[in-house]
Amino acid sequence: MSDKKYLRNDKLPHIWCPGCGNGIVLSALERALEQANVDKDKTVIVSGIGCSSRMPTYMDFNTLHTTHGRALAFATGVKLANPELTVFVIMGDGDATAIGGNHLIHACRRNIGLNAIVVNNNIYGMTGGQYSPLTPTGMKATTAPYGMVERNFDLCELAHAAGATYVARGTVFHAKPLTDLILESMDNDGFSMVEVLSTCPIGFGRRNKIRGNYELMEWVKNRAVNVKAAAKMSEEDLRGKLLIGRLYSEPAEEYTKCYDKIIEIAGKEAKR
C-alpha cells in the first residue's frame, strides 16, 4: 500500500486474514475522509473490540480502542464534552448489536452527532467464528454447529426505528458506493449509521462451505439489492435480500446542540 495521508503507514501491514473485508472498509473510510478533507487533529476514531475494531490502530487521528460493546458510550462522552470534534465509531456486528445493542439504540435515539460504521461479517471473527445476532438463521458457526437457531434483526431498520437520522447499507463488493455512503453520512448533523456487509472467509465462509474468497464476496453481493432496484422488484424476489444504498435520511436537531440550549437556560437561571 502506498503512503496514505490519513493512515499510520508505519503500523501496516494489518493483522487481518486474506480475504477479510476490513481492509476494503478501511480504504473506503480513508477515501471518504480524504475527500471530505477532514482535519486530522479534530477527528476522533473510536472502536470497540473485535477484528474490525482494530481499524483505528492504522488511522492517523486521535484513536480510542475501548471495551467490548461500549464504543458508542465512550464516543458519546467524547462528542458531548467537545462537540467540535468529528467522531467516527467503528464496530463489528457482535460488538454493536449483541453486547453493545443497548448503547446503539440509545445513541440513535439521542441523535448525537456520531458517524457509526458497523462492519457486519455475520460472525465473531476474533474469537474464532461464534454466531452473532446477524448470523443468518440456519447458517453455521462454532457455537451453532447444527445451524443458527435464532432469528436475526435488520440492523438498519432497528437503527431507524430507534431514531437514527441517517441510515445506509453498503457492501465490501461495492467499494466505491461504500465510500460515497460514508461521505454522505458525514453531511448528516446527527447520528448516522452505515452498515457494511463484509466477509470473514475463515470464521464464516469456510464453515458454511463458501470456500473461496471470491465465492464469499459473490455471496455478499448476491444478498444485496440496491434500494432503487428493489422498488421495482416483487416481494418474492426480495425475500432474504438486504437493501443497500441510502435507506433513511431524516434530519433532526443534533443532541449536543440541544444540550447547548440547556446551558443557555441554566445560565440565565443562575444569574437570576
Binding site: 473510536v46 467524547v78 458531548l80 464534552a81 470534534l85
Partner: protein, 377 residues
C-alpha cells in the same frame, strides 16, 4: 466571612466536585447516590458543563472516560450494583490512564441487598473489583464537610496520577445532614492536569513523568495518539513483548505505591497516651469516636485511628501506633474487610479484634464500647 449551610453528604460531594473543576458528569440513577446526579444535572450547565443520564451504569463509566480524554474533569456516582457494573471500565481507565472519579455511596449487599441502608462492604472491591493488577486510590469521608474536601482531593489525585479514583462514601455520610462552611471549603487547592511540554512531533503519549504518570494531551489539541485497553508500550500501541508488558503493569502499581507518602491520609484521635486503638473509617468512624469518649470516661486509655485513604492504606502510621499499644480493635460495617489489611500491617505484633456488623443498621457507640471491652478484658 463564612457561608454556613446545612446539607447532605451527597450534596457536599457534588459541590466539592464542581469546586475541583468537574465539568462533565455521566451516570445512571441508583439509591443512595442519586442526589449527586440530580445536583449535577442542575448545577453543571450553569457552569457551561455537561450532564448526561446514560442508558446504564456501564455507559456512564464509558462516557466519563471519553469526556476525560477531551481534557475535561469528570465524575460519576453510583452504589453497590452499579459499582459492580462499572468495574470493567474502571479497569479500562486504570489501564489507559484516564483520570476520572467514581463515587460509590455504599449500601447493603450482596446483590440488590439493602438499597436504603448503609454498609461498608466494597472495601476490597474498590481496589480489586476489576481484573488485573494495578494501584488504587480510594478515599472514605466521615463527615459532610469531608465529603466536599475529599471530592476535591479525589479529582486532584485523579488528574495528578492519571488514574480513576474511588470516593468511597456510605449511606450514612451520603444522606446525613450536617453543617458545612462553604466559604472555608472553597479555599481548597485545585490541581489541573499537566499538558505536554513538547510539540506533537516529539510527543510520546505514555512516557511517564516524574510521578510515573503519562501526560495525555486533550483530544483535539493537535497531539494524535492511540488509547487502548490492550497492554501497550510508551507509544500507546499494544505490545506482547514481555519486558514492555512487565514495565507497564509494574508502573500501574508503582505510580501509586511509590507516591504513597503524597497520597495517604489518616486521622488520629486520643492516641498520644493510648494503650489500645480502635480502627474505624467512613460513617462507622462517627460512632467509634463517641465510643472512645465513652471508654475514656471509664478511664480506659483508648484512641481512634481513622484511615481516610483506605487504599493506599496508611501502613506506616498504623505500624508506628501498633508499637505503642497493647491491642487493636477494628469496627466496620462488613465482615472484616479492612481488618484483614490491618492484621497484615500489624503482622501479629499485637492482637487484632473487631466488631463486624452486617445488619444494615448504624452501629452505636455503646455497641462498639461493649465490643472493645469484650475483647480487652
Amino acid at each position: 466571612m463564612s457561608d454556613i449551610r446545612l446539607m447532605q453528604g451527597n450534596e457536599a460531594c457534588a459541590l466539592g466536585a464542581i469546586h475541583a473543576g468537574v465539568r462533565f458528569y455521566a451516570g445512571y440513577p441508583i439509591t443512595p447516590s442519586t442526589e449527586i446526579a440530580e445536583i449535577m444535572a442542575e448545577e453543571l450547565p450553569k457552569y457551561g458543563g455537561k450532564f448526561i443520564q446514560m442508558e446504564d451504569e456501564i455507559a456512564g463509566m464509558a462516557a466519563i472516560i471519553g469526556a476525560s480524554l477531551t481534557g475535561k474533569k469528570t465524575l460519576t456516582a453510583t452504589s453497590g450494583p452499579g459499582f459492580s457494573l462499572k468495574q470493567e471500565n474502571i479497569g479500562y481507565a486504570a489501564m489507559a490512564e484516564v483520570p476520572c472519579v467514581v463515587v460509590n455511596v455504599q449500601r447493603g449487599g450482596p446483590s440488590t441487598g439493602l438499597p436504603t441502608s448503609p454498609a461498608q462492604s466494597e472495601i476490597m472491591q474498590s481496589k480489586y473489583g476489576s481484573h488485573g493488577d494495578r494501584g488504587a486510590i480510594v478515599l472514605t469521608p466521615s463527615t459532610v464537610p469531608e465529603c466536599f474536601r475529599l471530592a476535591v482531593r479525589s479529582v486532584n489525585l485523579a488528574e495528578k496520577y492519571m488514574t480513576p479514583v474511588i470516593l468511597l462514601m456510605d449511606e450514612i455520610v451520603g444522606h446525613m445532614r450536617e453543617a458545612i462552611d462553604l466559604e472555608e471549603e472553597r479555599k481548597a487547592e485545585v490541581y489541573d492536569r499537566k499538558k505536554p511540554d513538547c510539540g506533537p512531533e516529539d510527543y510520546v503519549a505514555y512516557a511517564p513523568d516524574e510521578n510515573g504518570a503519562p501526560v495525555l494531551a486533550p483530544f483535539g489539541a493537535g497531539y494524535r495518539y492511540h488509547v487502548t485497553g490492550l497492554t501497550h508500550d510508551e507509544t500507546g500501541f499494544s505490545t506482547m513483548v514481555p519486558e514492555k508488558v512487565e514495565r507497564v503493569n509494574r508502573r500501574l502499581v508503582d505510580k501509586i505505591e511509590n507516591n504513597k507518602e503524597d497520597i495517604v491520609m489518616w486521622e488520629e484521635t486520643c492516641t498520644d497516651d493510648a494503650e489500645s486503638v480502635i480502627v474505624a473509617y467512613g460513617g462507622a468512624a462517627r460512632a467509634a469516636r463517641e465510643a472512645v469518649e465513652l471508654l475514656r470516661a471509664e478511664g480506659k486509655k483508648v484512641g481512634l485511628f481513622r484511615p481516610i485513604s483506605v487504599w493506599p492504606f496508611p501502613d506506616k502510621a498504623l505500624t508506628a501506633l501498633a508499637a505503642k499499644v497493647r491491642s487493636v480493635f477494628v469496627t466496620e460495617m462488613n465482615d472484616g474487610q479492612l481488618a484483614g489489611e490491618v492484621k497484615k500491617v500489624i503482622g501479629g505484633k499485637v492482637p487484632v479484634d473487631g466488631l463486624f456488623v452486617m445488619d444494615g443498621e448504624i452501629m452505636t457507640p455503646q455497641e462498639i464500647a461493649d465490643g472493645w471491652k469484650g475483647a480487652n478484658q
